[in-house]
Amino acid sequence: MVRTRIFLSTTILAACTALTPLQAAESLKVGFMTVRSGALAAGGRQMEEGLKLCMDEHRGVMAGRKIEIITADTAGQPAVTKTKAQELVERDGAQVLIGPLAAFEALAIDDYIRQTKTPVISPSAAAEDLTQRKPNPWFVRAVGTSAQAHHPLGEYAAKDLHYKKIAIIADDFAFGHEIAAGFQRTFEQNGGKVVQKLWSPLNAAEYGTYITQIDPSVDAVFAAFAGGNGIKFLGEYKNYGMQKPVLGAMTTVDEGILKRMGDEAVGVISSGWYSAATDTPANKKFVEAVRKAYSADPGYYTVGAYMACQFLNNALEQVKGDISDKAAFMKALRNVNISQSPYGPVKLDTYGQPILDVAIRKVEKKDGRLQNTVIKTYPAVSQFWTYGPDEFLKSPVYSRDWTPAK
């Protein structure tokens, strides 16, 4: 119930480190903005789990410094998010922030982190422009952008699956718009055609109205949903007797909700910068730890917060735990280079955005549980796909109305 402060370091560990006594004694305060109440609470909880796992792994010490995590509940409301950022930075003296969860929350504190020059590592907010047209020098992201994983999926759908006509159904908000536009862009460049786009309200009560509008002549349906909407959509899709294959966005069949789905999800092909089923030693170790602690597979939010924490560790090691020079620390943060992680190898581009391996994943049932089996990997995918920053940034940000193919 009471605020979590994670003091996990031991005096022995602190004594072992070859640092000045002053630095070793003084802990580094990290503000963590999560969501514990309201509609986004599920993602917030998964973020807390991912962060705790990473802190446990480091036993609360990074580059010889004790790390003190101070957690704040933004309630998923932008106005509260700003107050919480002030609370963490001004009152509690946090030197680095991890969070917040939603893109609109990150945008709400954009000005504030510039003013206070507070380094922020984003564990989940995916809005494209945070690292594109409105880059913030104090901001890096530990996850992909909305479209980053879906450019490859568009190409894959056209080239490998040989789909010609696709209908898109997506949540009618920025995240859905950006995913859909990114997918459409590469799909159409490779000879496919998006013949229909359906935008359902984020709080749509049910999807029957939309499912029954789907053009029967399409080869497949690309469904881009966030939160719990993927559960609803796939369940109803099956009950409407729909046979067309479904392509999903990363969050449509995210591990965080996949555990709640049934056979209706089997066969859905999606793409993402992460899958709990990725067969690498680093990921296996991570998944084992999550399963042991929380008896669930890690998904978008868990791995995002875990990696945000690893970014922090990597940057702190570069500056040997000395964060007093903020500019140097920020430079280190943008210079994060991790060769082995649940994501695979990660490094950042000059905009503060990770370059990530993107997996094409297929939902399969294995040992009685659903998983996103990796069927193809696109290595080192940039947020700009193959276009390069200059060409990419010339056009406006992906939106509902912007049709990149024209």
């Binding site: 514990r36 109440s37 309201g38 509609a39 986004l40 609470a41 599920a42 917030g44 909880r45 009618d172 359906l198 935008w199 359902s200 309200p201 709080n203 749509a204 009560a205 049910e206 029957g208 109205t209 939309y210 029954t212 509008q213 939160g227 719990g228 559960i231 609803k232 369940g235 109803e236 099956k238 009950n239 409407y240 007797g241 729909m242 965080g256 909700i257 709640r260 789905m261 049934g262």
Partner: protein, 286 residues
């Protein structure tokens, strides 16, 4: 042609869900003049309770009863110990139900962790019913059936039973009903229990379509309000017709005017309220 049939069925199914949600709301509103702003929270809590029952191995049909029963108990307790203290102060009652809605919503996040969760459908009702090239989910046809059966049962209860006669007397003239020797205290508890139970059971029944998630309460409450406003206060027929109209507006409106999807249900509400404040079937303005 297929478009009109299939969207009509969609509208009918959604309207049926709305009726199950709104009938209890309308019943309580009609007799007790309480705008129960916790009704959406009751609906959500019922769905969660039913879900937990199913996960504990209980059969879907029993889970509906458990969900309804649990919310009936909760509603009766709230009515007895909170709302009754505020007797004769409709406004204070409205506000208290708003506070209770906050409490229930956050308690659900606490207990059920905030993960969005589907309520599993009974196996025998999965899949689609096919006629030529039309397919429609069997479960939704079932929900339509339930709503019509419920409407008939409520009609019988209100119009043909002794309890119904007492309720109608209470709706029309409460002091007179009391003077006639009707035990209004017990009557109020019974009605509040029934209205709450309908919300709770409705939540379980709607679970396989809507799933359960934090925020379901505030998504559904305005819909119940819209239905009751449109149909008219305290009128069962009004709630029924209002539900179906809103269901049709929802399905045809979203399909034909996708740009208005976010506001499609509130425009008619404003229109009706400003042009005909009594609603379609109400006898008095709210």
């Amino acid at each position: 042609m297929n478009f009109w049939i299939i969207q009509g069925l969609n509208g009918l199914a959604f309207g049926s869900l709305l009726f199950i949600l709104a009938s209890g709301f309308s019943l309580i509103f009609g007799l007790m003049r309480i705008v129960n702003l916790s009704h959406g929270a009751y609906f959500m809590l019922g769905a969660y309770v039913g879900l937990s029952a199913i996960e504990a191995g209980v059969n879907f049909w029993i889970a509906i009863l458990i969900g309804g029963g649990a919310i009936c108990i909760l509603g009766t307790v709230i009515e007895r110990f909170i709302l009754r203290r505020l007797n004769g102060q409709p406004l204070a009652q409205v506000l208290v139900t708003l506070g209770i809605a906050f409490i229930i919503a956050d308690t659900c996040v606490w207990i059920w962790t905030g993960d969005p969760r589907p309520v599993p459908m009974p196996r025998e009702l999965t899949g689609a019913f096919r006629v030529s090239n039309l397919a429609f989910p069997i479960y939704r046809l079932f929900v339509i059936g339930v709503a019509f059966a419920l409407a008939a049962a409520l009609w019988f209860l209100l119009e043909r039973s002794r309890l119904g006669a007492m309720i109608r007397a209470g709706v029309d003239d409460l002091p007179m009903a009391r003077a006639m020797g009707i035990r209004t205290s017990l009557l109020f508890s019974a009605v509040f229990c029934l209205g709450s139970a309908l919300a709770g059971a409705g939540g379980v029944l709607a679970g396989p379509i809507l799933s359960v998630y934090p925020g379901l309460d505030s998504d559904m409450l305005p819909l119940a309000l819209v239905v009751v406003i449109l149909g008219g206060v305290g009128s069962l027929l009004g709630a029924f017709v209002g539900s179906l109209i809103i269901g049709f507006i929802y399905s045809y409106g979203q399909a034909l005017f996708p740009d208005l999807a976010y506001v499609i249900l509130f425009l008619p509400m404003v229109l009706v309220l400003t042009l005909r404040p009594t609603g379609l079937f109400g006898r008095q303005a709210i």
